[in-house]
Amino acid sequence: MIADHKNAASIPLMQAADWLLLVCALPLVLFITSNLWQNDSRAEYLTLASIYAPSQKILLSESKTLTIHGRLGPSLIEISKGAVRFLESPCRNKLCIQNGWLRKAGDSNWCIPNGIGMSLKTKEASKIDGITY
């Protein structure tokens, strides 16, 4: 017991190898946690597609409303505070409008009658490449 105590007192709490391990591990921890954060990150841009036009990417940083033409007529899209929604649509059931605001990367909404769809994405690496539904 006494010998053990003496040994413990003579060895530094952190040796050089421990410091090296700590320094090496730190970036790895940052890398892993950055991946975790990305999953919950808010969307940065909107992909908007219509049957009549190629998809367009629109940044969500600027609040505005925009019109996109579909099979039945124009749909009005509102972007505000990093979120997006269908504001007006010529479809009958208005399910696209009822779905409300989309905020997170990976969220999507579409108006089948009018042939218009939207999905939200982040510029950074997204953990999810596709959603099955």
Binding site: C24, F31, L102, I112, P113, A125, G130, I131, T132
Partner: protein, 333 residues
């Protein structure tokens, strides 16, 4: 340190190597992603996808002006309809899956779908059809006769490939992209998807949609060649007197399936996975396991109405639940 830097660089480089495009076909969004492809090859792949999707969308629409629409018009007149070789292949596969699934998946449900009006793009119905009308459709059993170049039936039949058309399309696209030399890609046809290869050293990561909101409740690392198909009660539906009525109709009762909010199936054969997801929705809590066994699908995940997740052992090993709203059933197999 070096390892971490390499990992960081690899991740950044891999994201730069992903091309992502969205198309609109089959009444839904088609997301197409490729990894490590130059612009010329990416454009060639996009042109191929556009042509194929447009062709299949037109030819396979039950109520359109393409081949299947015209076949249905002839069947309703009591005539024998000529069919192309490719249509024969699709119909033969559909009839085979119908038999294999004990009729839980069916290609001759057009009249029922029409009665519920889920075939209409501009779906405006908010009340279920009269049960007498549904029962009257069962009065005359279906009789389909398929040969290599023709199909005939009684006049009560409208063929509808909706239960597995996207699966068949994805099998064709997967083979076509492979023939074009595309090794690493992901095609997501409105929630039904197929993956080729990987994105660099990582598997493509797929989220399963939360049945009651736009979020994701589970993650899957997709193996190269896998297709992941989901059938759910939230895609086309209406609420009447507090009850949800959706587009997955039970061929035996003529009513929407009740037990599950969604069913996800993973299998290398997208057509089988698509038909199985529909059939297992209808098979319900009591029969999904035996039917999955019969269909030869080993990776299945079902979400019941309480949010309990029923999964095969193989699926349980592949999937990670990331939402507190969902828990695995304690006694599933």
């Amino acid at each position: 340190m070096l390892l971490a830097l390499i990992l960081l660089c690899t991740q950044a480089c891999q994201q730069d190597n992903i091309n992502s495009t969205t198309l609109y076909a089959f009444g839904t969004l088609i997301d197409f992603k490729t990894f490590g492809l130059n612009n010329a090859n990416n454009q060639a792949a996009l042109t191929y996808l556009n042509q194929q999707l447009s062709h299949m969308d037109t030819q396979w629409s039950a109520w359109g002006d393409g081949e299947l629409g015209k076949i249905n018009q002839q069947l309703q007149l009591g005539e024998t309809a000529s069919i192309s070789k490719s249509m024969h292949t699709v119909l033969e596969l559909g009839i085979q899956l119908q038999s294999q699934s004990d009729g839980n998946f069916a290609v001759d449900l057009g009249r029922l779908i029409e009665l519920w009006q889920f075939n209409q793009q501009n779906h405006a119905v908010s009340k279920p059809p009269d049960s007498e009308k549904i029962q009257s459709l069962f009065a005359q059993p279906t009789s389909l006769t398929l040969t290599t170049d023709s199909i005939s039936s009684n006049q009560s039949v409208i063929l509808d490939l909706g239960g597995f058309a996207k699966g068949v399309a994805l099998d064709i696209l997967k083979n076509g992209l492979h023939d074009l030399g595309i090794e690493n890609a992901l095609v997501n046809a409105g929630g039904d998807l197929v993956v080729l290869g990987k994105k660099g050293h990582q598997f493509w990561t797929i989220g399963i949609r939360h049945p009651r909101n736009n979020g994701v409740f589970a993650l899957i690392k997709a193996k190269p060649g896998d297709s992941i198909m989901t059938s759910g009660d939230y895609e086309r539906f209406f609420i009447y007197e507090g009850k949800r009525y959706h587009h997955v109709i039970d061929p035996q009762t003529g009513q929407p399936s009740r037990d599950f909010q969604s069913v996800t199936v993973i299998h290398p054969n997208a057509a089988l996975a698509d038909a199985a997801a529909t059939a297992l929705m209808i098979a319900g809590l009591d029969n999904w396991q035996s039917l999955a066994l019969k269909l030869g699908v080993t990776q299945v995940l079902c979400v019941d109405q309480k949010g309990t997740v029923w999964a095969t052992p193989s699926m349980k090993r592949s999937v990670q639940l990331i939402s507190d709203d969902f828990k695995f059933a304690e006694n599933d197999t």
